[in-house]
């Protein structure tokens, strides 16, 4: 701790900070632009000027930049000093010299950091009377809008894009007062974290292009705390709605998970909530068409279907909430409920879960990942399957920076200085995958191999670390020495981490990763292991002790069941079309509950309109085993209803009283925790619905929300009662507790004078640290840290040199995930099915990029266009998975590839 003096009074602060962090942390209003808690200080904008005094006697002092000045013991400053105030106001005036003053037409208005800082400094009169410089804007793709005239040259965009996110196509051009931030040529920004520019940019230069199409001012949005549904990491989000349409997704800070940033799939994948494929009322099949029908009309039919409860099976979903899945389980009974994952995913997620549960390796949060100092990524293309995990791995450089900073006595926050010392040195990151990944440039070493060889490498690393771990026979010398190098590096680290996942499709790969982590634990290291999983609630469904999809399908096919209820799941993504078709043939009744029309819905007898994550509250469990509550943002129109409430309605209709007592979400949660005690912690994952702050609910709408009468005046001028939310302490209203809610219920980041995302500073106990009161969610898995180690022993043999092709899965951040594909900008960036080959293989096959070849695997055959992927090993081919109509199941698989006009 150190004592500093601000305007004459002493304050105790944590050591190692700069003055800006210290002042903001203490609640002082010091304006700034270029500093950012995740990007640290560069001292460019000069906005954070304060007066520093040598000692008590010094009356003159000198102006210093708070962000570049260490808050050392005894530092004396004045924020209120008239010269400092004058200078800060002048900085705004200088920024206004070229600023277009177009707030009324600027998307940023109302949550603009420049506006806030202008007001804070008190500057209000422009003396500049000359011409302003102007720029031409660029089309940067479907996600980001570009308006360069508003730029205040804080350089945050390029520092985030390049230094933090590793992007290389956005940069700064020009000189003096004609500096330009953009691409070298117009075009879609390549980096998958580009959307964060929208929040990083303190003005309206970079704004959300998707939001622009249905624009709403921040103060007019209805918002609630939510969780991203587009991968297994569970990043926290703040969706915003108005007029029944979801308008945008913004980041919701979570210290342990996403921190300040989201990936573009999470930020922009929300349009499925608004798209025309939405099912908004119950539908009943009539021949080839589905016709809208009211629930009242459907009721008897449903009752009849569900009359014999022993003949109903339920297929849940890894993209549906725990409560929805549990409600289905309650309806059909535990023996007839499956989690809805594909056979492959089920096996893998279960295996991953067991490895995590049994210990002794620790289970890291993303924040722990950022603080690891040596990492092996085995087999998983995290940049595509768990993008924020890849972003966290990029920040390993801070480990090196910390060591370097000590050596040259530089403060940790001196961003440019530290980067100058670290140069291009790589942190200790090893990536071993079948093909190149966008994270490769951050790695010390990368290695490309077929899945079996990756597995063998993993086992070899474990054996090199610990002789108790099984050794790998017939290991070529160079792989052996790579394994030794990785073992040495991880073994010598303080916080080593092994990352793998289900993306490769191999259980043995997970086992190899486990062996490595356990071998490290065996030598006393606090090793960590984490897995990327397929979907937002894969972990949740895996924890529910569900049956497998096969068992449930068999029950129908064998005639033991005749009614299938499918929850938020397109079965054609889970199993081969033939098997799914057979299931639908065999079933007498198919009831589907989902948000969007899908191929499965096309086979349904009845479809009930499920609420999306934005229209329902619920709980999902991320890959870390953290149960997190997402809250309804708005009450949907029409008959859209939470899936669990549909289950309850169906049970009631069928005379099943199991869910009779479920009045609100908490009741479902309690029932779940009782039925499956492992879920006990989720009772604490969110406050109960009765929670009130100072006797009031937490308002979803800001205190400036406008038009609540006008927006419905065409229907009725009598303002209706706002919808009631019995499921949570949040209200669909402006009225309620006006101050900072507890961390679990933060529905927007706003504070007096801080209308932009920078208001987040006020919600953290310490700038850049956890939210006040602790970040939301509860972990359901705590590995047994002193567990006895039983190494996995089954090691695949080496791949024969002239063996058949191996077809591996290629995951695309844009394309592999179902819901986000409804966003036009995501779909346009997704590929069509292809087969990727190494250039030598293509030449040998006599084919070239763009030409078609025939690929046969798992008794399927397809003609696919060739894509060249130079990083693939010989005789390894890649195929995209998860695309619409192209799930890519049961990979890796042996394959045969023929040139277009060849056949065997």
């Amino acid at each position: 701790m150190a004592t500093i003096y601000i305007d004459g009074r002493p304050y105790e602060i944590e050591e190692g900070q700069n003055l800006l962090q210290a002042c903001l942390g203490l609640g002082f209003e010091v304006p700034y632009f270029c500093w950012h808690p995740a990007l640290n200080s560069v001292g460019a904008c000069r906005q954070c000027a304060v007066k520093r005094f040598k000692d008590e006697k010094d009356e003159r002092g000198e102006i210093v930049m708070a962000c570049m000045t260490p808050a050392d013991e005894g530092t004396r400053i004045s924020i209120d000093d008239p010269e400092a105030k004058e200078f800060r106001a002048a900085v705004i005036e200088w920024l206004m010299v070229n600023h277009p003053h177009d707030c009324p037409v600027c998307d940023e208005g109302g949550e603009c950091h420049l506006q806030d800082m202008t007001v804070m400094t008190g500057h209000n009169y422009r003396e500049y009377r000359f011409e302003k410089r102007t720029h031409r804007n660029q089309d940067l793709g479907p996600f980001i809008n570009h308006e360069m005239n508003r730029c205040i040259q804080c350089y945050r965009c390029v520092r985030f894009y390049h230094n933090y996110a590793g992007g290389r196509d956005l940069n700064v051009f020009g000189c003096h007062d004609h500096v330009y931030f953009g691409r070298q040529q117009p075009g879609t920004l390549e980096n998958e974290f580009s959307g964060n520019l929208v929040e990083i940019c303190p003005t309206g230069v970079f704004t959300d292009k998707t939001e622009k199409r249905h624009f709403t001012r921040k103060w007019d949005l209805q918002t609630a705390p939510s969780v991203c549904m587009h991968c297994s990491l569970g990043c926290n989000t703040l969706p915003g709605e108005r007029y029944g349409r979801l308008r945008r997704i913004r980041n919701r800070y979570h210290h342990e998970i996403n921190g300040y940033f989201l990936c573009d799939r999470g930020r922009y994948g929300y349009e499925f909530v608004n798209c025309e494929r939405r099912i908004r009322e119950p539908l009943r099949r009539n021949g080839h068409t589905l016709q809208p029908v009211s629930w009242e009309m459907l009721r008897p039919q449903v009752a009849a279907c569900l009359a014999d409860s022993s003949r109903i099976v339920g297929i849940g979903s890894p993209r549906a909430s725990l409560e929805a899945n549990f409600a289905l389980r309650t309806l059909v009974g535990p023996d007839r409920f499956c989690g809805g994952m594909s056979a492959g995913d089920d096996r893998l997620v279960t295996a991953a879960l067991r490895i995590l549960q049994q210990g002794p390796a620790r289970l890291p949060s993303l924040n722990d990942v950022r603080r690891a100092d040596a990492v092996l990524v085995l087999g998983e293309d995290v940049a595509d399957t768990a993008p924020l995990l890849a972003l966290a791995l990029r920040q390993l450089i801070h480990r090196k920076a910390a060591r370097v900073a000590q050596r040259v006595k530089l403060p940790r926050w001196n961003d440019a200085g530290i980067r100058e010392v670290v140069q291009n040195e790589k942190e200790m990151l090893f990536i071993a995958t079948p093909h190149s990944t966008r994270l490769d440039d951050a790695a010390l070493k990368t290695w490309r191999a077929a899945p079996d060889d990756l597995i063998r490498l993993g086992f070899a690393v474990a054996a090199a670390l610990n002789p108790q771990a099984p050794a790998v026979t017939n290991l070529p010398a160079e792989i052996g020495s790579l394994a030794d190098e990785i073992a040495r590096t991880l073994g010598g680290a303080e916080r080593p981490l092994v990352v793998s996942g289900t993306g490769c499709g191999s259980e043995a790969l997970l086992q190899a990763a486990a062996n490595v982590a356990w071998a490290l634990c065996a030598q006393g290291s606090p090793a960590q292991i984490c897995f990327a999983l397929p979907e937002c609630n894969s972990m949740g469904t895996a924890l529910m002790e569900a049956q497998s999809l096969k068992e449930v399908v068999d029950a129908v096919q064998s005639g033991r069941a005749d009614t299938v209820i499918i929850l938020e799941n397109d079965l054609y993504r889970r199993a081969d079309a033939a098997a799914v078709n057979a299931l639908f043939e065999a079933a007498q009744h198919v009831i589907v509950i989902d948000h969007l029309t899908t191929a499965t819905g096309d086979r349904a007898e009845l479809i009930l309109p499920a609420a999306t994550f934005a229209e329902a509250s619920g709980t999902v469990v991320n890959n870390e085993g953290r149960a997190q509550r997402f809250y309804r943002v708005f009450a949907p129109a029409g008959e859209v209803r939470e899936s669990w409430r549909w289950m309850q309605k169906m049970m009631t209709a069928a005379g099943n009283t199991a869910a009779a007592g479920w009045q609100k979400l908490d009741d479902v949660v309690a029932a779940l925790a009782e039925a499956l005690p492992l879920f006990d912690p989720i009772l604490l994952a969110a406050p109960p619905a009765e929670f009130r702050q100072m006797g009031s609910k937490i308002p979803r709408q800001s205190h400036r929300y406008s038009g609540r009468t006008a927006m419905l005046a065409d229907i009725s001028v009598h303002e209706p009662k706002p919808p009631e939310d019995v499921d949570s302490p949040l209200a669909f209203s402006m009225e309620g507790y006006d101050g900072q809610p507890p961390a679990d219920l933060i529905q927007r980041f706003w504070a007096p004078g801080w209308n932009s995302v920078q208001a987040l500073n006020k919600f953290q106990a310490e700038i850049g640290g956890p939210l006040r009161g602790g970040d939301p969610g509860r972990r359901l898995i705590e590995p047994a840290l002193d567990a006895e180690i039983t190494y996995f022993k089954k090691i695949p043999s080496a791949r024969p040199a002239d063996g058949e092709w191996i077809l591996v899965a290629v995951h695309h951040i844009f394309g592999a995930e179902e819901l986000s594909m409804a966003t036009a900008g995501v779909a346009e960036r997704a590929p069509r099915p292809y087969v990727a080959l190494n250039a030598d293989d293509a030449a040998e096959l006599g084919t070239a990029a763009g030409e078609e070849v025939e690929v046969r695997w798992n008794s399927r055959r397809h003609r696919l266009p060739v894509r060249l992927m130079p990083s693939l090993p010989r005789r390894v081919a890649g195929m995209p998975v998860g695309l619409p109509g192209w799930p890519g199941l049961n990979l890796p698989a042996g394959a045969r590839i023929f040139r277009g006009d060849d056949h065997d």
Partner: protein, 427 residues
């Protein structure tokens, strides 16, 4: 010319090619290299330079020996270590380094080798401004000769000391002359300056220990080693050691550059060396040390032009190249010209320089063309107050404010006339 009184220019033959290696050696060249490598330790060389009171000739005047002592020495020091010679002379009205580069490149090279030895550098660069094409040609020839003569490269003169020397030419931009911006430019980056700390001796080129030094500074080093610190101090008229290349431009009879004792008075330089004002012109004031120094007036002409003297008149020695403002040149126009230069040369990194300089240039343009407003004077003054050292990221903007603030002080009536009469009285 006596090489003991005018060491820097004794071997410069105006209008003729510079000494070849052979000629330079015959005139006593590279003796300092022999002396340093064969009979002095690096520490001893640094001590000599410290004792000589040689101060940086690039404008900042930092004691050179002290600067060298910041470089980590010993077997544990991070390598490679770099010596960078700042030959990016772009300060308006500065032309003294050009004279040394064109006139005696071997002198600079010798100084580089000795300085490199003192800090045990591995690699030295001469960062030369692109427009200095004749210096580039001559330096390339001289460097090749020095390599051939075993004064550069591995094991120089069969000693343990090795030094590679590379000529690096810039691509424009005044800000490259700022020592940390220069490092960024050398690294192939945009030449925005770096924050200090860290300082170049700790974190320099590619994060390695680096000493940047000016051409004139380094050119003095062989002579100090040859003749000693006491001799060097004795050359000067002031506590600051050595000689100084002074220059004069503007409407004087003999514009030019001359090597004189450090501390020669302003009057002597103007009247004796430059011959005083041209027929029909009167002196109104001078900018004594290149474009970023304050005006000095008639009453200051007897100040010594060392690092201290001009301060007493509220100015600085800077580069020691003097611009003369005559009575038929508009002071507002002159200051406008300077502000245009600084505004255009701002790197664009920090707000006050990027926006403030451009604004002052536009105000001055308005005043000069008769469109000034009465509040403009106060607006300009506010800028001179706010664009001070520490307020901006580097010294470019504070330097730009120096001629402006002194012009507002000394030529206030001229500014007011422009504003009142809505025209430039000099046109």
């Amino acid at each position: 010319m006596d090489h003991l009184k005018n060491p820097l220019t004794a071997n410069i033959r105006p209008g003729k090619p510079p000494f070849s290696l052979k000629e330079y050696e015959q005139a006593g060249g590279y003796q300092a290299v022999r002396k340093a490598l064969h009979s002095l330790t690096p520490g001893e060389v640094t001590a000599m330079v410290k004792a000589s009171n040689l101060r940086g000739r690039g404008g900042a005047g930092f004691p050179t020996g002290q600067k060298w002592s910041f470089i980590p020495m010993g077997a544990d020091a991070i390598r490679p270590k770099y010596l960078v010679v700042n030959a990016d002379e772009m300060e308006p009205a500065a032309f003294k380094d050009r004279m040394l580069l064109e006139g005696n490149p071997h002198q600079l090279i010798e100084g580089i080798i000795v300085a490199g030895y003192a800090i045990q550098a591995d690699i030295a660069y001469i960062f030369l401004r692109r427009e200095y094409t004749l210096p580039a040609k001559r330096l390339k020839t001289a460097i090749a000769e020095a390599y051939a003569g075993h004064y550069l490269g591995q094991n120089i003169l069969e000693s343990d000391f090795s030094l590679q020397l590379y000529l690096h030419e810039s691509a424009g931009r005044y800000i490259c002359g700022e020592e940390t911006a220069l490092l960024n430019s050398l690294e192939g980056r945009r030449a925005a300056p770096r924050a200090k700390p860290p300082f170049p001796p700790v974190v320099g080129l590619w994060g390695k220990p680096t000493t940047p030094n000016n051409v004139e500074t380094i050119s003095n080093v062989p002579h100090i080693v040859n003749h000693g610190a006491a001799w060097f101090k004795g050359l000067s008229h002031s506590p600051d050691g050595g000689t100084k290349i002074y220059g004069v431009s503007g409407r004087v009879k003999r514009p030019g550059a001359w090597e004189l004792p450090m501390g020669t008075t302003l009057r002597e330089i103007l009247e004796e060396q430059a011959g005083g004002m041209r027929e029909g012109f009167k002196l109104r004031g001078v900018i004594p040390g290149g474009g970023s120094t304050d005006f000095l007036m008639e009453e200051h002409l007897d100040l010594k032009m060392d690092f201290d003297g001009p301060k007493q008149g509220g100015s600085r020695l800077g580069t020691g190249t003097i611009v003369v403002l005559d009575d038929q040149t508009c002071p507002v126009g002159l200051v406008h010209n300077l502000m245009q230069f600084f505004a255009r040369e701002s790197c664009g990194w920090c707000t006050p320089c990027r926006e403030g300089l451009s604004w002052t240039a536009r105000i001055l343009a308005a005043i000069e063309s008769g469109q000034g407003q009465s509040e403009d004077f106060a607006r300009l003054q506010k800028h001179t107050r706010l664009l001070g050292p520490g307020h901006t990221f580097c010294a470019l903007a504070p330097g730009a404010m120096e001629p402006l603030q002194s012009a507002l002080k000394y030529f206030e009536e001229d500014f007011n006339r422009h504003i009142r009469e809505k025209r430039c009285p000099w046109r």
